[in-house]
């Protein structure tokens, strides 16, 4: 684990006046499933394209496997697999041929290639669609083909740029499981998404980015510990007089109370038994209430606290 797989220091990238990456720093270690989480336009794709030496950048340095990545770093490129945000396959070639074409750009040996292509098809579950043309595939299947084309050559480092956009839950689960499987087989994964649930589900470490900056980095537990909120209690109620809200606000560990849309929200930081204390109070005042929820913080809360806005708008 000595040299990081990817090391980015002080990366600055401008598109004319627009500052897309602003002194961005990142280190990714071997064996990680690394999540780049950020809203639309935060610079995830730009970061990826800079790492891959597709884009020029204004400042900073990028190392991949300890070496500078250049357009002609064919040895490095051989070990990298990329699944881009936009589907890039040949309309006139079948599923099998598409995978074979892209795999063939990496693997010369015909027999080995055949085996890899078969494995890739199995991996994304497209065997039955082997001879289908891309236009006959549903959106989710097309995404799976896109993935297969990027990973068939068994790369050591895989970039996936929002591979699950506009995909049905079944395909999505298949894709996510696949990514975890690739990781188990030894690949380091860089995964970008603006779906926090996905990132939470599969990523071992996460960077939260917004407006080209890396705002926080860590495991999901670490990220959640960075913020004040540790629990959000939500209770369905018809109404609650204003003075009671102030009382609840003064309970131990509570730092914010809101009443919106017949829901009482109580935000707590730290401590245990917060829910019990709130329910005790309500019963004491003989207030009737409906269902009760207690939610642990999500990455969305982390994002909200760091940037002051929702991850998804």
């Amino acid at each position: 684990m000595s040299t990081p797989v990817i090391k980015i220091s002080n990366l600055v990238k401008r598109y004319h006046e627009l500052l897309a990456l602003d002194h961005f720093n990142l280190e990714i270690k071997e064996g990680e499933v690394f999540g780049l989480l950020g809203p639309n336009g935060s610079g995830k794709t730009t970061t990826m394209n800079c790492i891959l030496a597709l884009l020029t950048y204004d400042k900073g340095s990028i190392e991949v496997f300890g070496k500078e990545m250049r357009p002609d770093s064919y040895e490095l490129k051989r070990q990298i697999g990329v699944v881009m945000q936009n589907v890039a396959v040949f309309e006139e070639l079948t599923v099998y041929e598409n995978i074979d074409y892209f795999c063939g750009l990496y693997i010369q040996d015909k027999a080995l290639r055949k085996q890899y292509v078969e494995e890739a098809m199995e991996f994304v579950g497209l065997q039955e669609f082997k001879n289908f043309f891309p236009r006959k595939l549903s959106g989710g299947l097309l995404r799976r083909l896109n993935i297969a084309c990027g990973i068939a050559h068994k790369p050591r480092l895989i970039f996936l740029d929002e591979p699950t956009v506009a995909v049905d839950p079944q395909s999505r689960n298949k894709i996510l499981e696949g990514i975890e499987e690739l990781n188990r087989q030894g690949a380091t994964i860089v995964y970008t998404s603006h779906y926090m649930e996905e990132v939470e589900q599969i990523c071992t470490r996460i960077a939260i980015m917004d407006k080209g900056k890396n705002l926080a980095i860590g495991t999901k537990e670490e990220l959640k510990q960075m913020i004040k909120k540790s629990e959000e209690i939500r209770i369905e109620m018809v109404d609650i007089p204003q003075e009671y809200l102030a009382d609840i606000r003064n309970l131990k560990h509570v730092y914010e109370v809101r009443f919106e849309n017949h829901n009482l929200h109580v935000l707590c930081s730290g401590g245990k038994h917060n829910l019990l204390r709130v329910l005790d109070y309500l019963q004491e005042k003989e207030l009737s209430f409906g269902r009760v929820y207690s939610e642990l913080p999500t990455l969305n809360d982390v994002f909200l606290e760091i940037t002051g806005k929702e991850l998804r708008d």
Binding site: K77, M84, A88, E92, L93, E97, F102, L105
Partner: protein
């Protein structure tokens, strides 16, 4: 890797059935239309003696003797020469009694009447005659300067050559107006191959297409896969043109002459140029694909128009107004190669045209490669 690209390019191209259909249908349908529209026309247009006026001075002995030979009455009389003064000659031309005026001097020049556009074929033959005459005469002058003792031999050669030209070119030649339209049609088909060259360029550049980005990320050198695709593309397009030639020549029985191998070679070089041209346009700038397609369409049509695809006389007009353009207009070069094959027995003009086309194709390809070679982009 070359063959990997080559194989998959051919495979995907052959799969595009509609595309295949259109590429083939285009020359065939247009050819059939031309054929229907022109049938009958070529019979009336069979060659007669061409009436000309010659304005010569005392010292134009060589010209006079050539004109006299060509003007001798008989089976194969080529010219009907009237010697006249400048004014008389112009009068004759105004009254459309002659096709052109030959002005003596060095070089010999030709005037034709632009309003006589029903006589384009005769005009172009005269112009070809004058070109050839001047070329030969230049040759003699050079010889006279360097080896005066050989002049006589050369002059003897000249009169033989003229004889020979007279027979082949002006009476037995298969040149007629209809055939020249077909030559231009073939030229257009070759130039339209530029669309596929354009596609290759776009699909290989990361800043122009997602496919290009994906290929750029692979450890395969881009020039190798581009070269593979261009080769496959040339093969495919050339076969399309060969099929069109076959259809026009064998099914419609358009009289292209008998030099099939040379015609196939000309189609190959024509397609090479077309594809390189499209590839080059695809490589320059970050415009939308549709805009680049538009540029290619307009340029192709414009060049075909100037070379006489729609109006037969355009070619001659261009020759008068800006003759150098006929020397680089790819449509003119391609159709002229076919014309030269059917009219002249020597292949000098034919190979000259092909060499120009080939050189231009190589330049465009290399220029395209240089642009594509840049592999990092400021924006995608």
């Amino acid at each position: 890797m070359f063959w990997h690209a080559f194989y998959y390019y051919l495979k995907s191209t052959l799969r595009q059935k509609e595309n295949l259909c259109w590429t083939l249908l285009f020359p065939i349908a247009l050819g059939t239309m031309f054929f229907v529209a022109f049938s009958g026309l070529s019979d009336e247009e069979s060659l007669h003696t061409i009436p000309v006026a010659a304005v010569v001075k005392e010292e134009d002995i060589a010209l006079k003797s050539v004109l006299d030979t060509l003007g001798e009455a008989g089976e194969d009389q080529f010219l009907e020469v009237t010697y006249a003064s400048e004014e008389e000659a112009l009068d004759l031309l105004q009254n459309k009694e002659i096709i052109g005026i030959l002005h003596g001097g060095s070089p010999v020049t030709l005037s034709v009447n632009a309003q006589m556009d029903n006589m384009q074929m005769e005009q172009s033959i005269l112009s070809a005659f004058v070109d050839q005459y001047n070329a030969i005469f230049d040759g003699i002058k050079n010889v006279a300067m360097t080896n005066p003792e050989k002049v006589e031999a050369v002059i003897r050669g000249l009169s033989e050559e003229t004889d020979y030209n007279k027979e082949i070119t002006y009476t037995d030649g298969t040149m007629d107006e209809m055939v020249s339209y077909f030559f231009n049609l073939i030229a257009m088909t070759c130039l339209y191959a530029s669309m596929t060259g354009l596609k290759i360029a776009i699909r290989n550049q990361a800043n122009l297409s997602a496919l290009g980005a994906r290929r750029t990320l692979s450890p395969t050198h881009r020039l190798i896969s581009i070269l593979g695709e261009i080769t496959a593309c040339i093969l495919f397009q050339t076969v399309i043109v060969w099929i069109s030639l076959f259809y026009l020549g064998v099914i419609l029985k358009v009289n292209f002459g008998s030099q099939t191998g040379y015609m196939m070679l000309a189609s190959l070089v024509g397609c090479m140029f077309g594809i390189s041209f499209g590839f080059f346009v695809g490589c320059i700038g970050k415009m939308e694909e549709a805009i680049k397609v538009g540029i290619l369409m307009v340029l192709t049509m414009f060049n075909c128009f100037l070379s006489g695809l729609m109006v037969h006389s355009m070619r001659i007009q261009v020759e008068k107004i800006c003759p150098w353009y006929n020397k680089i207009n790819p449509a003119a070069l391609i159709s002229d190669s076919f014309y030269a094959l059917s009219v002249f027995q020597s292949h000098d003009r034919y190979f000259g045209n092909l060499a120009t086309l080939f050189a231009m194709a190589v330049c465009l390809c290399v220029a395209g490669f240089f642009i594509v070679r840049r592999e990092k982009y400021a924006t995608l």
